[in-house]
Amino acid sequence: MTTESTDITQALRASRKASVPLARLGYGTAALALLAATGVLEGYELFLASSILSYAIAAMGLNVLMGYNGQISLGHGAFFAIGAYTASICIDHFGVPFAWTPVIAGTVGMVAGWLIGKPALRLEGVYLALATFGLAIATPTVLRSDLFSEWTGGVQGIFLQINPAPDWTSLDLDQSIYLAVVGYFVLFSFLTLRLVRGLNGKAWIATRDNPIAARAMGFDITRAKTRAFVFSVLACSVGGALQAVAVQFVAPDSFPFFLSISLFTAVVVGGLCSPLIGPLLGAVFIVLVPNMTEEIWQGGSWAVYGGVIIAIMAIQPRGLAGMLGWTWNKLATHTND
């Protein structure tokens, strides 16, 4: 495990040096393509794309925690819910324009993440996984509770009255929401890349691979872990806020503990340690594949879904991004021949 990942890191570093301008060009093109989609896609497709990108943002954060820092969380759906509810309350009670709500949701999420992360991060591996899972289980009940129902709307949830961008932009509601989501997606892509390729990323990987050696080298392990956790929570709450905006409704039943498992699935199926492509493919997977499997075998769709997950893990443990990379390498070697 340790040598393998070091190999990967080295290989990545080598390939990165060679292809930095090429990669920048690729990112630029991808961002433009996402923007151009505003004009090409319509209604339902834009809604799906917004959903996928908001899950992708959440998965990006969780990938930093699980992939780079090696900590398992089964409870990030709770932070997704915190983000969604913060955004909804901002819109419903204070009339905040929807495009700004992820900023507030992210701030609230980060505070919550820090408060929960500090004590929780004393735990490791399965213990942390179970502790975070507890959060996910508690979330729907807390949201239903009478204590906060004045804010959360209790069981009824909250309808979001979202106004499209001003008339002169000639954007409809779905387009406005989608553009905001793309904006945050690009921002988080940039942040994630900066973090994992900078000193933080090195600290995370070192902490994951060998905490004792990392400490000996002068890395502050606790701080590294806390930072990874807080960043993952930030991304999840922003993703949640954007998802709530796209759906225009939140209710406790929208955040079952299964959501946390879905986010976990997105990260692992997408491919751990693939900072952008993995979470994006993972998000596509959790949004689109259940709909597709339902068409294959209605009523048994989750059996098909489960089968697909097993198949992916059996074929390529590094997930969809791993498969993509493998195919890419094969093609590249063939063309070189």
Partner: protein, 396 residues
């Protein structure tokens, strides 16, 4: 216009057909397409048959030759009882699959999530399987209509019965602390008028383990009438506990929890004797209906098209009425298969007799009344079966 010219080129007969018929997306000369969203997966997937039942019903309709010569295609979608997913599925049905309307959806939070969307899009959102009272709001939501009687209507029936038959009652209430419980409570108190009749009301959360302490409080309050507004598991606990601590009030039990197999059996049939509840459907398992034409037709439908049906699940036979009513609306809409016309037909049902409804209960709607069923009958448990008593009670 294009349709007319093409049809003229094809011949006069076709042209006259094209001129007479009027379609919105989802309807054509050959097909009518509609969607249903129910939980087919997840913890509440048992309710999924409420949707597959309607699809099975239209298989039968298609085998009989369809509706006015058109085949009916039913697209059943799974939301896993997750409101966010319901929005996804509703948008898929309306925008991608292009259904004419959506009908027979189950669940209050899930339908709430798409309430505004369906009305903004002006797509009929009909005959929902949920008891919340908010669906009857034609002024603000002219495209949404439920089918089942509301919890509020039922709460009023109990209040009226108590006022007429036990004017000196001392009422103790156990209610679930959410919208379901409050819908019943508010209507009950409103109809009762005299709030001093209620000597004690205690609530529980769905996360509670038992309602034992609540039952002791109610007993100690000296109440001689017990109104049990609990979901099945807690309703059973409450009935059993009342029996165990020797509290013998006249018990009223909400219809949500009056299934014999799920509630009365675990509560103990001796503790359950003489409980009063309401019903608007004919229960196929009740021996009283063995010879009933509706029940026999349902049995035949079940045998040929819907073998998965379970007689213990009320939604497996209530959906038969829903499906029949959808068929009726489509038939009446005739050649004008537009969304607007469907709402017009659906909101003009006058004394329509849907199968499986108790004798004397009919479907009635009007432009300002979007609550199709507003009558129920009281019934009492005799230790073996439920027996109806008194007249059908209408509540407006």
């Amino acid at each position: 216009m294009l349709k007319l010219t093409t049809a003229l080129a094809l011949g006069f007969t076709l042209a006259s057909g094209a001129m007479a018929a009027d379609y919105d997306r989802g309807a054509s000369d050959a097909e009518i397409k509609f969607g249903i969203i129910v939980p087919l997966s997840g913890p509440l997937s048992a309710y999924g048959t409420a949707g597959t039942c309607i699809a099975a019903y239209f298989d039968m309709v298609n085998d009989r030759g369809g509706i006015n010569g058109r085949r009916v295609t039913v697209s059943v979608q799974d939301d896993g009882y997750n409101p966010a997913k319901t929005v996804d599925q509703a948008r898929r049905l309306v925008e991608r699959e292009g259904v004419l309307f959506v009908a027979g959806n189950l669940g209050t939070p899930t339908n709430s999530a798409i309430h505004r969307y369906m009305n903004q899009r002006k797509v009929p959102h009909l005959f929902l399987n949920t008891g919340a009272s908010k669906w009857d709001d034609p002024d603000n939501f002219p495209w949404t209509m439920a089918f089942t009687p509301s919890y509020a209507a039922e709460g009023r029936i109990y209040a009226r019965y108590i006022k007429e038959n036990m004017p000196d009652a001392k009422i103790g209430i156990l209610y679930q602390n959410d919208d379901f419980g409050r819908d019943y409570m508010d209507a009950f108190i409103d109809q009762l008028e005299d709030e001093s009749l209620i000597v004690s009301s205690v609530s529980y959360d769905t996360s509670a383990a038992t309602v034992d302490s609540q039952m002791s409080t109610l007993k100690d309050s000296g109440a001689d009438v017990f109104f049990n507004i609990a979901s099945p598991k807690f309703a059973a606990q409450a009935i059993r506990r009342a029996g165990e601590i020797g509290w013998k009030p006249t018990q009223f039990l909400v219809s949500v929890s009056n299934a014999k197999s799920a509630v009365l059996d675990p509560a103990g049939l001796d503790h359950s004797t003489d409980i009063i509840s309401t019903q608007y459907l004919k229960e196929p398992t009740n021996p009283a209906y063995a010879e009933d034409a509706d029940v026999q037709a349902w049995q035949e439908f079940k045998a040929n098209y819907f073998p998965k049906a379970s007689e213990g699940n009320w939604w497996d036979w209530s959906c038969y009425s829903t499906a029949y009513t959808i068929e009726h609306v489509l038939k009446e809409a005739g050649e004008e298969l537009t969304r607007e016309n469907l709402m017009k037909v659906a909101s003009n049902l006058d004394g329509f007799e849907a199968p499986m409804l108790l004798p004397g209960i009919t479907v009635n709607t009007a432009a300002d009344d979007f609550a199709p069923i507003e009558a129920m009958s009281l019934m009492k448990f005799d230790g073996e079966n439920w027996g109806l008593f008194g007249d059908v009670i209408a509540v407006d």
